[in-house]
């Protein structure tokens, strides 16, 4: 019944999904539905049909190669909680509720592209790449720069996000967020950190219209890890790099403050992990 509906496609293979999207260029792509369905209920989104990816098995699963962690885009967030990459795992662990994590997918979180989405800073700090598949084949783009505005990405017409590729990382990586309560909350601000070969890479959520990172911040963070910079210097570097919003949840001033505090704390955790700190 549903399959026969012209406005609703339920493909079972990636090829069928690409075709279904080509047939319905204006359709909304839906996987877990944890964003799309509430939006429809609240009428904050209109849909000219749907391509559901729920039955596309190729889009589920986590695999590792010698140098990459490959997460298929339809993998539910709940399946990320134990992945090797601890920043991604930590961001997944604090996302929504157990019920939401079971349905929500990593690809959906990325394609939502809202500044406060949990996984975005983790993927940015991890230097992830994205696999985009369309009628013409597959291309790989860096996640850095993929989100171009709140809710907007550089995905091409007819393309699906099919996988996320993270450089393998077994060392320190972490993610932390602040909000207005202690579970099931949208990040007021969030920070992810990855430390590798003595260098720290930080990324910031809800710190601007798109996920934020900067070489200048990473240089100071790395110096802090080495003990050659102070926490105040890192906070100042963060302050210069971010442009957070003011909204009814929090002021930009608080967000700037929290982003700096979280950045310092994550570097301190990295120091502890490396046996450098107390």
């Amino acid at each position: 019944m549903l399959l026969a509906a012209p406005r609703f496609a339920l493909p079972e293979t990636l090829g069928e999904a690409i075709t279904a999207l080509a047939d319905r260029p204006d359709a909304t792509v839906v996987a877990g539905g944890t964003e799309v369905m509430p939006d429809l209920l609240w009428r904050t989104r209109r849909a000219e049909g749907f391509v559901s990816l729920r039955r596309v098995r190729e889009l589920r699963g986590v695999t590792t190669t010698d140098d990459e962690l490959v997460v298929a885009a339809g993998t539910p967030v709940a399946a990320l909680i134990h992945v090797e990459h601890r920043a991604l795992a930590a961001a997944a662990t604090s996302l929504g509720t157990p019920l939401v994590r079971t349905e929500a997918t990593i690809g959906g979180n990325v394609m939502s592209a809202l500044p406060y989405r949990n996984l975005l800073p983790a993927l940015l700090a991890a230097d992830a790449a994205l696999e985009l598949t369309g009628p013409g084949g597959t291309r790989t783009v860096p996640f850095d720069g993929f989100v171009t505005a709140p809710g907007v990405t550089a995905i091409g017409p007819g393309e699906l996000l099919t996988a996320l590729r993270l450089p393998r990382h077994r060392g320190f990586a972490d993610y932390a967020k602040v909000g207005r309560r202690n579970a099931q909350f949208v990040a007021t601000a969030s920070v992810a950190a990855v430390a590798a070969a003595g260098r720290v890479r930080l990324a910031f959520g809800n710190a601007g219209p798109t996920p934020v990172r900067s070489d200048a911040v990473d240089a100071v963070a790395t110096a802090l890890l080495d003990g050659t910079a102070t926490p105040e210097e890192l906070r100042a570097a963060v302050d210069a790099a971010v442009d957070p919003p003011t909204d009814p949840v929090a002021s930009a001033e608080y967000r700037r403050h929290a982003l700096g505090v979280l950045a310092v704390r994550l570097v301190v955790r990295a120091q502890v992990d490396a046996g450098l700190g107390s």
Binding site: A90, S94, V178, R180, R181, N182, P248, A258, V261
Partner: protein, 785 residues
């Protein structure tokens, strides 16, 4: 006796609720049922220049489209003032105000038709600052030509200018809390033969609904039968009429049953919130902490329509004194009309606002004098026989000292801490500081100031099975359980059915004000006693016994203490029935010399233990210990449920719950933006009780539902202050208030003692000269609020 008073009897509706089988109002349906929806104003203030329903009426499947012109009876309704239009006809006064109601064959058609309704508005300036509204031209001249103040209360006692060695003063702000019940408003109206209508609705007060709906429909009240539908939480938010009249109008217009169920957003827009407010308080005390004088001023934003604003303000103003002896005082306050969402009843009814302010003051006083916060509270604790600032003698148990000592002696938490920030794991690597804070409150119980507080119950008994009929709305508080326990205890009933409340019996009043065990419980108790006496008289006649020697013990009828027969076998096949009424003694308006304003009071003390990540402003409430004056423990499990629920709802107001209104528009009408505590946020609760029976009440029971909320707000705030050293004069406390140190510190002034003038006039209700008002609003503000 099993299942009687004092036992943790399980709720009769518990299994169905746990299994998901309970029928809530939103589950109601009927053959041929239509779905009603509401078209609402998007503007907080506008003139309606045109309503065109042609396209909506022409939509297939639409059966009725109603506007203000289709209201056959009184176009105005309201709980206190009749100032709210059933449907707005010319002017809308808040964003979300109903303008058109329509019914169609299904929800999708109804929503489509609603979008086809054309309403054109001339947007008018909205007055959203209550301070401005105080002196602005009337916002609603039709109903309220004299101005925008719903009620102004002012009185003095003793010599308000008396002084001790120190005064502390500050201005406190309380945000707008939403009742946030889980089941949105829902109901179904069904036309009855003869022109009447049956309304099944999730409500707190069936007879108030009946009166207001009948008036709007132009029907005598008996033509409107209201029956309680399954309620999923209320907390005051179902005391006002919302969809009730619209559903009935649509049912009568179409001749078919009409069901209406609000969306979550409509629920936020359509029901009443807790009044946000600003309270200025100045306490003067002697060096040992004895309070010499208190001055206070309150401004509550009542929003667009009156609801209970004229009543709430009196609670706030009179209970500014807290549970403390205050010999001299000057108190004043107003609730005022604005173009913000209407505020009305919510659990605590004006007292959480007062409690937050007076408890912050007590701590500020203790700090200024270098005294222990509990010592200051004990030194000033009200006792039985004391006279309150508002003139009422506390002639029932007043165990303020006892609840303070009760909570003081409870052990501090020993379990592992819950990190501030919870699952976000922000606190790791930072510094977490623990804080401990105390609060003590007084809450008036039952209706006040001459509002009749009464209930009626019919109880019948046949072969050991009791049936209780009462119009008391079960909203989750557990009256159904208590009524069953009473029937078992008094009648020896083996089984009990509590029937669904309706308006076929006299009013039980509202399920609010912590009042239903006292009012409806006592009515049931009385009816049970009459049934018992009739049954025993019958047994006496049949057995030629002296009825005075007969009694019921457990489920057994005894003669001179010896078992005679089982209650179930005492009068085979015969039904004994009685209807009894209960009303509390009369109460009187503030300032009356005839008697007190309030039926009674409940006292509560709590100690909150919090862990705070000061740099990020994140809080974890580790434990709240409570000692409450409860009269008697009717049902330990249900009592603990009230304590735990009140505490969590109170910590919600203290830390996160706020309806954020910007330019008259609610910015967060959803549970993604309006946060209530999760189980991760909820603290360990340790609960103990003072059981000093309330005079005049069976078993000495008294209301328990509101005090735990009133106390949790200041207790949590005090603990966060203790952890941070910040003044935190506003709730909810936001992370940025802590992290950025926002909010002004109390002003401490050392004064030359000045005893009360011997000629001081005692107590007086006065209209203070506006130019002679005490305090200022702007100087000592919570700038972060």
């Amino acid at each position: 006796m099993t299942g009687g008073i004092g036992e943790s009897v399980r709720r009769p509706d518990g299994p169905a609720k746990v299994r998901g089988e309970f029928v809530y109002a939103g589950d109601l349906t009927a053959d041929d049922v239509l779905v009603g929806v509401t078209v609402r104003s998007p503007h907080p203030h506008a003139r309606i220049t045109r309503i065109d329903t042609t396209a909506a009426r022409a939509t297939d499947g639409v059966h009725a489209v109603l506007t203000a012109d289709d209201v056959p009876g009184d176009p105005w309704f309201g709980l206190t003032m009749r100032d709210e239009p059933v449907l707005a006809g010319d002017v809308v006064r808040y964003a979300g105000e109903p303008v058109v109601a329509l019914a169609a064959v299904d929800a999708a058609t109804a929503r489509r038709a609603a979008r086809a309704v054309v309403v054109e508005y001339e947007v008018l300036p909205a007055v959203t600052d209550p301070e401005v509204a105080l002196t602005a031209p009337p916002l609603h001249p039709q109903a309220h030509p004299e101005g925008n103040v719903y009620r102004h209360v002012a009185y003095t006692c003793g010599d308000p200018d008396a002084r001790g060695v120190v005064t502390v003063e500050n201005t406190y702000r309380i945000g707008m809390q939403d009742p946030a019940f889980l089941a949105p408003e829902a109901g179904m109206a069904t036309p009855l033969p003869g022109g009447g209508v049956l309304l099944e609705v999730a409500t707190q007060w069936l007879h108030s609904d009946q009166q207001q709906v009948a008036r709007a429909l132009g029907l005598p009240p008996e033509q409107v039968e209201v029956r309680l539908a399954g309620v999923g939480g209320a907390f005051g938010g179902r005391e006002d009429v919302t969809l009730h009249t619209h559903a009935c109008l649509l049912a009568l217009a179409t001749g078919r049953p009409v069901r209406v169920e609000y969306t979550r957003e409509e629920s936020f827009l359509g029901h009443r919130q807790r009044h946000p407010g600003t309270i200025w308080l100045r306490h003067s005390a002697d060096a040992d902490g004895t309070i010499v004088a208190v001055e206070g001023r309150v401004l509550l934003d009542g929003g667009a329509y009156a609801s209970t604003s004229p009543v709430v303000i009196t609670n706030t103003v009179t209970l500014l004194q807290g549970p403390y002896r205050v010999p001299n005082g000057r108190f004043e306050g107003s609730s005022v009309r604005t173009h913000n969402p209407s505020c009305g009843a919510m659990r605590g009814f004006g007292v959480p606002q007062a409690a937050f302010a007076h408890e912050a003051q007590l701590d500020a006083l203790a700090a200024a004098l270098g005294l222990d916060p509990l010592e200051v509270r004990l030194r000033n604790a009200l006792r039985r026989g004391d006279v309150a600032t508002f003139g009422q003698t506390l002639d029932a148990p007043t165990p303020v000292r006892e609840v303070i000592e009760g909570v003081r002696d409870l052990p501090l938490p020993t379990g592992p801490a819950k990190a501030p920030g919870g699952v976000g794991r922000a606190a790791e690597g930072g510094t977490v500081r623990r804080g401990v804070g105390y609060a003590v409150t007084i809450k008036n119980l039952a209706f006040s100031e001459g509002h009749t507080d009464e209930s009626t119950a019919t109880v019948s008994l046949r072969d050991g099975h009791a049936t209780v009929h009462c119009a008391c709305a079960e909203v989750g508080q557990g009256f159904v359980t208590v009524a069953e326990q009473i029937a078992r205890t008094v009648l020896g009933a083996t089984t009990v059915t509590v029937t669904q409340p309706d308006t076929l019996i006299a009013s039980a009043g509202s399920t609010s004000a912590s009042r239903q065990t006292m009012a409806s419980g006592t009515a049931v108790h009385r009816a049970c006693e009459v049934v018992r006496d009739r049954l025993l008289a019958r047994v006496a006649r049949a057995g030629d016994l002296d009825p005075a020697t007969l009694s019921i013990a457990g489920t057994t009828v005894c003669a001179a203490g010896r078992p005679l027969t089982e209650v179930a076998d005492a009068a085979p096949g015969h039904t004994v029935r009685a209807t009894e009424h209960f009303a509390h003694p009369d109460t009187y308006p503030l300032g009356s010399t005839e008697g007190g304003m309030y039926v009674g009071f409940g006292f509560s003390a709590q100690r909150a233990v919090v862990d705070v990540d000061v740099d990020l402003g994140l809080v974890s409430v580790v434990q709240i210990a409570s000692c409450q004056d409860v009269g008697t423990v009717v049902n330990p499990t249900q009592l603990l449920g009230q304590i735990e629920g009140g505490i969590v709802q109170g910590m919600g107001l203290a830390l996160m719950e706020e309806v954020v209104v910007v330019d008259g528009l609610i910015t967060n009408p959803h549970f993604e933006g309006y946060l209530i505590p999760t189980i991760v946020d909820a603290p360990e609760v340790v609960s103990t009780y003072v059981t000093d029976p309330e005079p005049g009440m069976p078993h000495g029971w008294k209301g328990v539902g509101e005090p735990p909320l009133c106390t949790a707000v200041p207790a949590v705030a005090a603990a966060v202050r203790a952890a941070t050293g910040l003044p935190l004069p506003a709730v909810p406390i936001k992370p940025e208030h802590i992290a950025l140190g926002l909010g002004s510190t109390p002003t401490v002034t050392w004064t030359t003692p000045r005893p009360a003038a011997p000629s001081s006039p005692g107590r007086a209700v006065v209209e203070l000269d506006p130019t002679d008002r005490t305090g200022t609003w702007d100087a000592e503000g919570a700038t972060g609020a």
